[in-house]
């Protein structure tokens, strides 16, 4: 509970996973700026983090599809705290794949949040972190980005695009001392998945959020959440396309 002065920015802090990660930072006395699409949700998370021991929490409103507005909020947060040690981007949506197949606009809307919206924020963040010459940018991708599957390739395309973008960014920022962490959760029990049948591979948001925290603290390049998705995805990626295309996945 000793304030350690760490400054943390969480975009999409109303996410169940991100809330748990933010709690881990709050418990060690960090200072946080949390953003959410709706002010009530941001405030609810901020109050929780304060009670758990955060030295200071500010809640700001940010919709990732509003690129100019988002950049302005990042600027505002950066100025308020004089920079950050960690930025975690968690905002995302799981679109209805069948709707995306029927309606191109739905697919584009999903890409807008999950890929374009995040990239729009990563660009100013990368420049600010790069200039500071330290810190860590962490982004929640997904195992779905590792391979396109018929059941969710629109979502997968966005997360896969993010994966590539972050690879390049990691390479670019490495020399300036900034770490880029790509997080790839598997199935996590959150509002995003509440309508799904929850099989044995599901883990709680609490467990996933704490795993995200540890991956950031260890400055991992790519972390599967939890770890057991690494071997699973290794196998999934290794299947030749000519076999893969016949599978019902």
């Amino acid at each position: 509970m000793r304030p350690d002065g760490l400054r943390v920015l969480v975009v999409g802090a109303s996410s169940a996973i991100a809330t748990e990660t933010a709690r881990a930072y709050a418990e060690r006395g960090a200072r946080l700026v949390v953003t959410a699409r709706t002010p009530e949700r941001g405030e609810a998370v901020a109050a929780d983090l304060r009670v758990r021991g955060a030295a200071e929490v500010r809640a700001l409103t940010l919709d990732v599809t509003d690129h100019a507005g988002g950049t302005a909020v990042i600027d505002q947060a950066w100025t308020a705290f004089g920079g950050f040690d960690v930025a975690l981007l968690a905002a995302g949506v799981l679109p209805d794949q069948l709707r995306c197949e029927a309606d191109g606009a739905a697919a584009v809307a999903a890409l807008d949040v999950n890929l374009v919206g995040i990239v729009a924020l990563l660009t100013p963040l990368a420049n600010r972190f790069g200039a500071a010459g330290r810190g860590c940018i962490a982004v929640i991708g997904s195992v779905a980005g590792d391979r396109g599957r018929q059941s969710n390739y629109v979502y997968g395309a966005a997360k896969g695009g993010l994966d590539r973008f972050l690879q390049g960014l990691r390479n670019r920022l490495h020399r300036s001392g900034v770490a880029v962490v790509t997080l790839k959760p598997g199935f996590v029990d959150t509002p995003m998945t509440s309508a799904m049948d929850q099989g044995p591979l599901f883990v709680s948001a609490r467990r996933a959020g704490r795993a995200v925290y540890r991956a950031i603290e260890r400055r991992r390049d790519v972390a599967y959440v939890p770890w057991f998705w690494r071997p699973i995805m290794l196998v999934v990626r290794a299947i030749p396309e000519r076999v893969f295309k016949r599978l019902r996945l």
């Binding site: 709706t38 949700r41 109050a47 929850q198 709680s204 467990r207």
Partner: protein, 434 residues
């Protein structure tokens, strides 16, 4: 979708839909909801009071945010899905403790209020609801009501079995403690008189409870082990595990491992455990209060048919006649009664119209569910309890008759005046059937 069962895994009930309640600022999520509504939290109720067969369960576990903590006065405000485990992890290192805790830390604040739960300190602290200073209720109409102990809607929500709407958050008055330990004493007693003598000393201790071997008869009837203790300094204790299950019982025991024979062995072993008749020690609070939390899903030992818990309270009589009769009937029935928990409730009034605790002796005992014979025994026990002017605990009940319920809880009619017209439960429909 997750499993929506009660702790006893009996009876089974299938909701037509499950709708998560995630944000306290949101309107009631009722666009798609047909049929009666009921909040579901940690599912630590045993019978069907947290079930809603054919209706809509509102899963409130995501309402898990803390709102404020006044470290000077010990006032904690939090959302209703916050578990007691989370609260203890937060407040014990700061020198505070929950005013009342049940036998597991994996219950929510909302569930603790809706059943107005009691703990080992009932004789000093009364029920959980007695320490709630404010709460907010969301009604199906979208109306939000913030209420305090003087309001009828508060008194009907405490112990109200979830029927007055969704509790969004509550403010709880905590108590100061010297540390994370419990200075406890474990005393063996040979029979029910031994229990009654020890219970007469309860006022000197914050926490008291006894484990009784229900299968012992004759001279040994009512023998057991008395536990009593007070908060004590202790440096650090381990925080709760992230989730409820740790060592899991991996699958249903085929046919159930619990029968009258294994239970008799277990009860005997527990009674004999520790060579000395009296032992003192300072232990971390968790194993003192929550011994069963160390094993996840232990209820699976009972096998796929599940089990029922029976908890009653009967008014004090000089010689404990009613409770003697209850023990006699259990031991004579051939049902595989587990170790029973026996405690004397104090005479502090309960704040809820339908709160269960009242002065007298309370007994809780598990039975593997074996169908008609189990049900027959419990009906007999109901008759004994009713004749003595006692009551049976709805949070543990899967089978009491409408007539028994009316006898135990005459205030049920009054609760109807405050019930949210769209809320109901499997339990409520069962005990209110004509």
């Amino acid at each position: 979708m997750r499993a929506y069962r009660s702790w006893g895994r009996y009876p089974e009930a299938t909701p037509a839909a499950v709708v998560p309640v995630v944000w306290r600022s949101d309107p009631p999520p009722l666009e798609r909801a047909r049929g009666p509504l009921l909040a579901y939290a940690c599912g630590r109720s045993y019978g069907d009071s947290c079930l809603n067969d054919g209706g809509v369960l509102l899963d409130v576990r995501r309402l898990d945010r803390l709102i404020s903590f006044d470290g000077e006065r010990g006032l904690l405000c939090c959302e209703a899905g916050v578990t007691l485990a989370q609260i203890l992890d937060l407040v014990v290192p700061r020198g505070w403790f929950l005013p009342v805790v049940p036998g597991t830390r994996w219950v929510s604040v909302g569930g603790a209020i809706a059943n107005d739960i009691h703990g080992k300190n009932h004789h000093r602290a009364g029920t959980f609801g007695a320490h709630v200073t404010r709460l907010e209720l969301l009604r199906s109409s979208g109306e939000r009501i913030t209420c305090t102990p003087a309001d009828p809607i508060f008194q009907s929500t405490v112990g109200g079995l979830g029927l007055t709407g969704v509790i969004l958050w509550a403010e709880i008055a905590l108590k100061r403690v010297p540390g994370a330990g419990i200075a406890m004493e474990r005393i063996r007693f040979p029979d029910l008189n031994g229990f009654l003598e020890l219970a007469a000393e309860d006022a000197r201790f914050e926490y008291t409870v006894a484990w009784v071997d229900c299968l012992a008869r004759g001279r040994r009837l009512g023998r057991g082990v008395y536990l009593r203790g007070d908060h004590a300094p202790l440096e650090r204790t381990a925080p709760s595990p992230l989730e409820a299950q740790r060592l899991r019982v991996p699958m249903d025991a085929p046919g159930g491992l619990v029968n009258a024979f294994t239970m008799r062995l277990f009860n005997e072993a527990y009674y004999r455990a520790g060579l000395r008749a009296r032992r003192r020690a300072t232990v971390p609070y968790a194993p003192f209060f929550f011994p069963l939390d160390a094993v996840g899903e232990w209820t699976r030992l009972y096998g796929p048919k599940g089990f029922v818990q029976y908890q009653c309270v009967v008014p004090d009589t000089p010689n404990g006649e009613a409770i003697r009769t209850v023990f006699d009937r259990i031991a004579g029935s051939g049902e595989a009664a587990s170790l029973a928990v026996l405690k004397r409730f104090g005479d502090l009034g309960s704040p809820g119209w339908l709160s269960f605790p009242r002065p007298g002796l309370t007994l809780a005992v598990d039975f593997p569910f074996r169908g008609a014979s189990t049900l027959r025994l419990l009906d007999e026990l109901d008759a004994v309890v009713a004749a003595a002017g006692g009551a049976v605990y709805p949070a543990k009940d899967a089978r009491m008759s409408p007539a028994s319920f009316r006898a135990f809880f005459p205030a049920a009619e009054r609760l109807e005046t405050q019930r949210d017209p769209r809320f109901s439960s499997s339990f409520w429909r069962r005990v209110r059937a004509a």
